[in-house]
């Protein structure tokens, strides 16, 4: 079963999975990072409280998060067709992936941003910093280790989603599992793919944890 055709298939699947996961994560961060920061600063105890907008965006995020991904995948097909011209293939899958992931990213960024000690923010305020300066020079700096940890776990979630998208013609390793492992009953292939996915998750997790520790200057045994 490990002939060159098969290896080619796996290589393509792997690259597609990486492509979907990375692009969807990037786009999710482009939306989720500012949204998460907004959710954090607009809290009642944030630097720019805005109960109305906070509740509005919070609700949108919660609604999107409560839809199971498989359902979202199907429900998003019209939108995906509209945006990408098709609903099949790894590029098309990025649309539902982003819809499912940006709310997760937003909540994760919100949690990181909100964990910055209030006293440090107050010190910045006492020095005459604007809210924008506080966000860029205090919150985003102080939250770096936590943001890295959050990014690793978001990436793993997106990777999982991308595999699920295989059910709906999403391409990537997930499609191979469905087509070969499920429809043709080639369980050997399925196990190989599971191992690959597990390794990918482990690598992301380990890299995230190490980067976060390395970035964190708030520990005695650094430098």
């Amino acid at each position: 079963m490990f002939d060159s055709k098969f290896l080619g298939l796996i290589a393509t699947g792997f690259l597609e999975t990486v492509y979907m996961t990375v692009s969807a994560s990037l786009i999710s961060y482009i939306i989720g990072l500012p949204l998460g920061l907004f959710l954090s600063v607009s809290r009642p105890e944030g630097i720019a409280p805005n109960p109305g907008l906070n509740r509005f965006f919070g609700t949108v995020v919660n609604l999107l998060r409560s839809v199971p991904f498989v359902i979202l995948l199907v429900a998003a097909i019209p939108l995906t067709r509209f945006v990408m011209g098709t609903s099949i293939g790894s590029s098309a899958t990025i649309v539902p992936l982003v819809i499912a992931s940006f709310p997760i990213v937003a909540r994760s960024v919100e949690a990181s941003a909100s964990s910055v000690r209030h006293g440090v923010i107050e010190a910045a305020q006492s020095m005459g910093a604007t809210n924008m300066q506080i966000i860029t020079r205090v919150i985003l700096r102080e939250a770096v280790p936590s943001l890295i940890t959050g990014a690793a776990s978001s990436l793993i979630t997106v990777l999982g989603f991308s595999a699920m998208a295989g059910v709906c013609g999403g391409g990537g390793l997930g499609s191979i599992v469905i087509n070969y492992g499920y429809y043709r009953g080639e369980t050997g292939i399925m196990y190989v793919l599971i191992v690959i996915l597990v390794i990918m998750v482990q690598i992301i997790q380990e890299a995230g944890a190490r980067l976060s520790v390395k970035a964190d200057r708030n520990t005695k045994n650094n430098n």
Binding site: A123, S126, G128, R137, R141, E142, R217, N218
Partner: protein, 338 residues
Amino acid sequence: MSANDVIIHIEGLGKTYDEGKETEVKALEDVNLDIYRGEIFGIIGLSGAGKSTLVRCINLLERPTAGRVFISGQEITGMDEADLRLARRKIGMIFQDFNLLEQVNALDNVCFPLRISGYTKLDAEKRAAELLDRVGLSGRAGAFPSQLSGGQKQRVAIARALASDPEVLLCDEAVSALDPTTTIQILELLQEINRELGVTIVMITHEMKVIEKICSRVAIIADSHIVESGNVSDVFRNPRTDAAKKLILPSGGVEPFDGNGRLLRLVFDGTTTDKPIVANMVLSCGEPVSIVAADTKQIDGKTFGQLIIQLPSGTGSAERMMAYLDSENITYTEETDV
């Protein structure tokens, strides 16, 4: 320092948290205070008295719910956000738990206020290095806060607060997290900064020893009100309110040994402490007294001693002893409800 050169003028200041709600707390009420340019002004009170609220109302980290605050003649309570940010650059602040950026080193912490006010990275770093030098940390520019001791962290915070050449430095329990030796060093640094740079310092504390060590004037805050204020030595010599007595007496309140004897608080200054006053009094009146509490302090470079004694309860003996003290020119007050 002329008496009319007021740098901080506080008028009818009030702060009620959660106004109108069930959780409403009146943290400050009708606070009036003038702080003079160039002085070190102490604000002392027990925990929960409203000290932090008061100091935070000076730079509007907390919005007062009543009254006005003026700094160098400008009403800070009437400013819009943009003017307030500019005004805040002239009011440095340091905190009990330092509030340094933990992810950047000492130098970059001091650079922060410079960078946000438009300094280039290079200029900011140059000035920050000078400031670290000024607070005695020249060798530790590259250290992260987690690698510094409490005293060193407070030095970084002081350098950071001084970066924008403030006229006023607000200190909220700035030495409360430090051990006694470090406390003295930081207080001496603040004193030096006050003398050499002319920065007016407002010291918030719950410890009398901080006030004694560096303050020229003091206000005592209790239950959301300023209950007493004046020169440290005057307030110390003659505390009028219970709150002041509690803070100044060596061990808080004292209990009389038996219910009858009257309690006297004697205050000696540098000129009288040499004489064995109590011993002489006991000898001349022929009756013993109990010493309830005793303490000496250094204020403004002068030694003050205080003694709380319980007079004998026999008829006339208390009066005889007080007459003796009068004849020796010793200041004393009768304590009724310590």
